[in-house]
Amino acid sequence: MKRLSTLLGLSIVGAVVLIAAGADFLAPHDPFAQNLMARMIPPCWMDGGSSLHLFGTDQLGRDYLSRLMYGARISVLIGVLTVVTSGLIGTTLGVTGGYFGGRVDDAVMFAITCRLAIPLILVALTVVALIGSSLTVVVLTLGLLLWERFAVVARTTTMQVRNIDYVAAARAAGASTPHILLREILPNILSHLIVIATLEMALAILLEAALSFLGLGVPPPLPSWGLMIAEAKDYMFFSPWVIMVPGVALFVLVLGINLLGDGLRDLLGVSTRR
């Protein structure tokens, strides 16, 4: 059962990454090409659907399946780049605080407390509104805001391994502090960080979709799934599938990442209370 769900998560994430990478070859149509003669065609499994557009077309006649495929690329990019940014920040802070303790640790804890007090979505929206919306701005904004869980976990796990014999041995052998931090501590807390990375990636993808939905994320005409839902919102009462298709895509990807994360947690023997 557990292995099955991990496998399911892995196949979902794998499939989405493949689609994102190969969108140029896989997409049946140009995702930006408008065709006002073929607007709002329902998906092929519904009445009036056409085999030319398997997932139908949007309000401007753009092929929904192609847009969905290019949208996967945006979600994956956002997820990976945000986690790299926030992971670097959070791990650096957490390991530093956990290893040195004392005043340094107080400062790190203070930074974490402050970050938690700052309303995430509101600040992200304001930053994007002021600097202008682009993929880079969204990645940097989310990356600079989502580091606190990395910091919390890196800090506690570093504290746990700090006094274990091999670290003391390295210290006694005269290893430099950077060496101890990078070669002794980091490899031993890595499994915890990987599990957090999956959770944060899922969160980053959901947040990007929410920002784009509110009109302050990835700018049109880029086919972000959140933006697709926002653009289709005015038509959802007559043809609900226009918001159902990108929404299900988003849900399935995030569920896949979370299933994979849960599986990794068991596999790596990590216990994180969440």
């Binding site: 700052i118 979505i121 849900f251 299933l259």
Partner: protein, 305 residues
């Protein structure tokens, strides 16, 4: 106890100060506020007039001190858009956001705690796994999308609930459910973990040996001990919910603080944005402070640390 109280209050004050700086710096990010306010069609003259009228020509530290001192005394400035005091605008809308947050929290607790208890009692069974799946689904659900789907289904197809507005109490049900979804997974897992730990402890064995009923053991003895972390996390979650309500208020067109913030961000009404950031942060700080205090009262061990 007094030292603990004092330390905690000093920390809260320092966090407040940092948030003040962040909220101020945030709106100065674009470089020149006057240029953003003048808009794309603004001339150099417009910019100069705006800069003078709103005091933006003063040095930044002076602007910050002026704003911070006023904010501390409750004066959050005037909205550019509504031409009214920001504090009044927020006070008008705050009850709606609070109602929404409390509805969401109530729904979340009423769902998460019973499910968590059942999950812990049936640990390892199919039922436990099924409930775990609910938590996973809740975690993966994009809240704005869930909101739209509920609107289509319950609002339009079945016509059970109003699709927007808060004229009647049932306008809060759908947004409350959506908001609850974000808090249910964390609360459920916490209840489950706490209950599993409590149920395997010595005092429960004693209670069992004394022949107490299952209901009495679970609800009176185990739950009381499992509830403490849930209470503090519930306070934190309420803070997150109030912050996250910006998305849900926009979906359901509820004119609360979140909607006001969204409107203000889109119309460059920065005094309002600053004030809402500050307000939400203060509420969060207050809630965590209250949770810490309550835990310290309930558990003497925490006071020492």
């Amino acid at each position: 106890m007094l030292t603990f109280l004092f330390r905690r209050l000093v920390l809260a004050a320092l966090v407040c100060l940092t948030v003040l700086v962040v909220a101020f710096a945030l709106t100065r990010l674009s470089g020149d506020l006057a240029v953003s306010m003048a808009g794309p069609n603004g001339t150099a003259e417009d910019v100069a007039i705006i800069r003078k009228n709103y005091g933006l020509d003063r040095p930044l530290p002076v602007q910050f001190l002026d704003w911070a001192v006023n904010a501390a005394s409750g004066d959050l400035g005037r909205s550019y858009l509504y031409r009214a005091p920001v504090s009044g605008l927020i006070a008008e809308r705050l009850p709606i956001t609070f109602c929404l947050g409390l509805t969401g929290l109530t729904i979340a607790l009423l769902t998460a705690i019973p499910l968590g208890i059942v999950s812990a009692m049936k640990e390892g069974t199919l039922l436990d796994r099924g409930i775990g799946l609910i938590a996973l689904i809740g975690q993966a659900m994009p809240s704005f999308w869930l909101g739209l789907m509920l609107v289509i289904w319950f609002g339009l197809k079945l016509q059970w609930l109003p699709i927007s507005g808060t004229e009647t109490w049932d306008g809060y049900i759908m947004p409350g459910i959506v908001l609850a979804f974000s808090a249910i997974p964390a609360l459920l897992r916490l209840t489950r973990a706490g209950m599993i730990e409590a149920l395997s402890s010595d005092y429960i064995r004693t209670a069992r040996a004394n022949g107490l009923s299952v209901a009495s053991i679970v609800l009176k003895h185990a739950l009381r001990n499992a509830a403490m972390p849930v209470v503090s996390v519930a306070a934190v979650q309420l803070g997150f919910m109030l912050g996250g309500s910006i998305v849900i208020e926009t979906v359901f067109a509820l004119h609360g603080v979140g909607y006001l913030a969204w409107e203000s961000i889109n119309k460059n009404d920065f005094p309002v944005v600053q004030a809402v950031v500050l307000l939400l942060a203060m509420i969060y700080i207050g809630l965590t402070l209250a949770a810490d205090m309550m835990n310290a009262v309930l558990d003497p061990r925490l006071r020492a640390g």
